[in-house]
Amino acid sequence: MISALLGTKIGMTRVHDAKGAVTTVTVVQAGPCTVLQNRTAERDGYDAVQLGFGDVKPHRSTLPSIGHAAKAGTGPKQHLREVRLEGPSDVAPGDVVTVEMFEDGVTYVDVTGTSKGHGFAGVMARHGFGGQQATHGVERKHRSGGSIGGNSNIGTGRGVKKGKKMAGHWGCDRRTQQNLKLVGVDRDRNLLLIEGSVPGPSGGLVFVRKAKKKG
């Protein structure tokens, strides 16, 4: 039984229950995903299902991807993702899976996405450093990170510590947010309401699966 879907992050809003308690939620349009291929232990060494999400016009696709999707009796897909399974798959190529899989027994999900890109960012933005003083003789270094290591460390082979937080490219990384509460499932519009935030911008591709570590 697979419990994972590809989807699009729509945006954030809030919902309240009958008592008026407010929950902040992210709305994700997940699926419907088409099963393109089954991986089996005997042939591939592991059991998995390959899911396809989002249609591509055939003339904008490639012949290999058209042929691959045609074996499942469908058109080419924009995004493919494999979902590992414990045992043999119970779905066949061409089957369509939807958010219905989350309706029973799934209360927490893990969401994987590509975090928002921030470009080349300084240490104050990227790591939350405090910067330096505005006055008292500080010149042209107000947002700098300060010292990165002492001279005495060089001779002992330590120098600048590995992993020292510095300025650099920030964001656009694959990130997984674990154990997010699933607040609601809308079968008609393929929507999932997930408590809190999920990685990436609105409109970004996300991968939602049943939480690995929690209920």
């Binding site: 729509i10 945006g11 809003t13 809030r14 919902v15 309240h16 229950d17 009958a18 008592k19 008026g20 407010v22 709305v27 349009q29 809308d186 519009r189 929507l191 309401l193 609105s202």
Partner: protein, 144 residues
């Protein structure tokens, strides 16, 4: 600004007829207070000094004076905890945000009453509220 799917999610949580209130109105806000098992209604009386947000995020601020101390409460317009908003009188104001009332003391805190009730597009609302309200005597206006 919103996405149509976001709007469709929010729509389920909006009140079909949200309370109608304007800036400067003196209102009674009836709120549900849930204390463990028990539930009761509490009334917060004051002047609407600000509205902000739209859709599910719409909220309004009410200011009143308690024991000579200004108190402001923010309510979510569409929250089930806001049972009813009873508009007592309309204030004549020229601002969208009445934060200047925070600096006013005593009689200067009063707002002139708007005599002509704003024409409300909803037909039901017009029937309830008369086109004219009797002007109150000078000195009776404003929160105590």
């Amino acid at each position: 600004m919103g996405h149509e799917l976001l709007d469709s999610v929010e729509k389920q949580y909006l009140k079909p007829q949200p309370p109608e209130l304007g800036i400067g109105d003196t209102v009674d806000v009836h709120t549900r207070i849930i204390e463990g098992e028990k539930e009761r209604t509490q009334v917060f009386n004051g002047v609407v000094i600000a509205r902000r947000g739209h859709g599910i995020n719409a909220s309004f601020k009410v200011r009143r004076i308690v024991a000579n101390q200004g108190v402001e409460r923010t309510f979510l317009l569409h929250s089930p905890r806001v049972l009813m908003v009873d508009v007592k009188r309309h204030g004549k104001v020229r601002r969208a945000k009445l934060y200047y009332l925070r600096d006013r003391v005593g009689k200067a805190r009063r707002l002139k009453e708007r005599r002509r009730v704003r024409t409300v597009p909803a037909t039901t609302a017009v029937a309830e509220s008369p086109a004219f309200e009797a002007p109150e005597p000078v000195g009776a206006g404003g929160p105590a």
